[in-house]
Symmetry: C2
Subunit: 335 residues, 2 copies
């Protein structure tokens, strides 16, 4: 395999598994360079070197969820394709979206190892929750303290590149945690509050997706009942996971428990979705959704996140990362 | 103006300045929804409501730097356009990239206020550097501690939505801080180290771009000399900034100081680039680059970041955010 990367990323690219690394320089003091043109020239060179008379090149043409690689991302839209097609009209861009989505749903042993390590480090960070969450703390300080613990836990671990996001949603804010994105606010935590801590972290490109819920002080009867239902729903889902099972069967197992406990209407989202290359993609394969015909295969990784949301009051979610094994499921977040 | 947003973002959209907010629902338990189709249907509806017989719609078609709005971003590529063009072939997508880039280079008073506030909060966080940086601390703990201080400083400030990234690069790592992206590593800080702390933070969508450099212990003669040159280069650039000045004139003023001090070869990047809507876009308008003919206008915001990098040894950068006023420059980072 060959990758073409900006010169500043050469070191990381060489640490990867690509056989050949080609670089380009997107900036210079001597001229104002168009970064797409700088990349395009190298792409055209490499394509010409292949000596193709006619070819289809698989491209990502459809919409997709892309994890943020940095605080700012250089998006090409169609500019790169337009440029190369002008130079090499015999080469056609074909959508390879479905192919790539399917291929990336199953993880190699190396990828699984990175995800397992990432989950383990997140688990160490979650241990600090007991100290970080107290009456008078704010969601911001809780999320910050656990993130700092995550950074501490990273020390000495074999991780070249990491990113981590911890979110804290407390009291009524946790009841809205079924929204498309998690969000830490300034709310001050009070005694008796239910507090959700959500984590998306990446270790060398493999993203985790984890939630744990805590209570400040005594667990109420309602809290205990919901917690028991969610725990049972997770176990029910795990029982069904094995190669050949369908996404909707796993969803059904978890949802049935929640419905029987009286929380069917509070479990407002799917039981899970693929995790790994894409951080927090609700349409990642395999989809663990009531309508999903996605068939589980060994090496697939996804989350199991049964939950109950009581609008404007509180919410409870437990989100685990699991991998499909030869005959069942491995929980990568056993904490 | 009208915006079309996912239902989960309605509250934020209504807090903005758009006259009309239309929402769409990208997920459901009853079916597996294609989010582009969900959005596309609303877009087609709204376009049909305009009763146009023929139209050109300005779109972002070229490459661009996009700030990360969350840990994962839903990128449409061309999918949305393809969908609407099938339904409404009379409506043509035209590239509006240059128009939007030019319009967003000048900030309104409201936007400038948000950026000023963001810089002020970052300044409060930088105050904690003196406590966060000490021999034995790691780059990770330094960046984490200052980020936590930033979160504390945010409390009570009129900011609806914030994001903040602090990076720490120490010793030889600071000598590579001219790369396309900043990166906090695990290096342990030693006595005598030069330590660079870089910040990109967003307050309600307006991004700052700030760097300060510190030394652990005594300032060496070499350090004092570089610091003096960079400080003079900043002042020289500020002297030139006013409506009508060209980007290359501002760059020249700063670069001349660095060259005369003997650091011309160590100042490896442009003096600055537009900041505000795009976090860390080296091609943001106005470009403060040796070849830039971009003409400054009142309300434009950019950074001024003279620096000297001594490869594999150390580096010094001071990056300020400035706004063009009626007759000069306002420094938004006067700390």
């Amino acid at each position: 395999m060959e990758v073409i990367v900006p010169a500043d990323e050469e070191e990381d690219a060489r640490a990867g598994t690509s056989a050949r690394v080609t670089t380009f320089t997107p900036a210079s003091l001597r001229e104002l360079i168009d970064p797409v043109r700088a990349l395009g020239e190298v792409v055209v060179d490499r394509l010409q070197a292949l000596g193709l008379e006619r070819a289809h090149i698989g491209c990502e043409l459809a919409a997709q969820m892309q994890p943020a690689s940095y605080l700012s991302m250089n998006l090409h839209h169609g500019a790169l394709r337009t440029l190369w097609q002008k130079e090499l009209p015999c080469i056609v861009a074909s959508g390879a979206d479905a192919l790539l989505a399917t291929a990336s749903a199953r993880k190699t042993g190396d990828e699984l190892g990175k995800l397992r390590l990432g989950c383990e480090i997140a688990g160490l960070a979650y241990r600090s929750s007991v100290n970080a969450i107290y009456p008078g703390a704010t969601e911001q300080t809780v999320a910050g303290a656990i993130l700092q613990e995550y950074r501490n836990a990273l020390q000495g671990k074999p991780v070249r590149r990491e990113e981590a996001y911890f979110f804290c949603m407390s009291g009524p804010n946790a009841s809205h945690a079924d929204a498309a994105y998690a969000r830490t606010r300034h709310r001050t935590i009070e005694s008796g509050d239910v507090v959700m801590v959500h984590c998306n972290s990446a270790t060398d490109g493999m993203w985790s997706d984890i939630t744990r819920t805590f209570v400040v002080g005594e667990e109420s009867t309602a809290y205990k009942k919901v917690k028991a239902a969610v725990t049972s729903a997770t176990h029910a889902a795990l029982e069904v996971i094995r190669p050949g099972a369908l996404g909707k069967e796993v969803d059904r197992a978890a949802r049935e428990v929640m419905e029987q406990a009286g929380y069917g209407g509070n479990f407002t989202h799917a039981t899970g979705h693929g995790v790994g290359f894409a951080a927090a993609n609700p349409n990642g394969l395999p989809r663990i959704h009531p309508c999903s015909e996605d068939r589980l295969e060994e090496g697939m990784t996804f989350n199991i996140e049964p939950a109950a949301y009581f609008k404007n009051e509180w919410g409870y979610r437990r989100c685990d990362v699991v991998a499909v094994t030869a005959d069942g499921a491995e929980v990568l977040t056993p904490f």
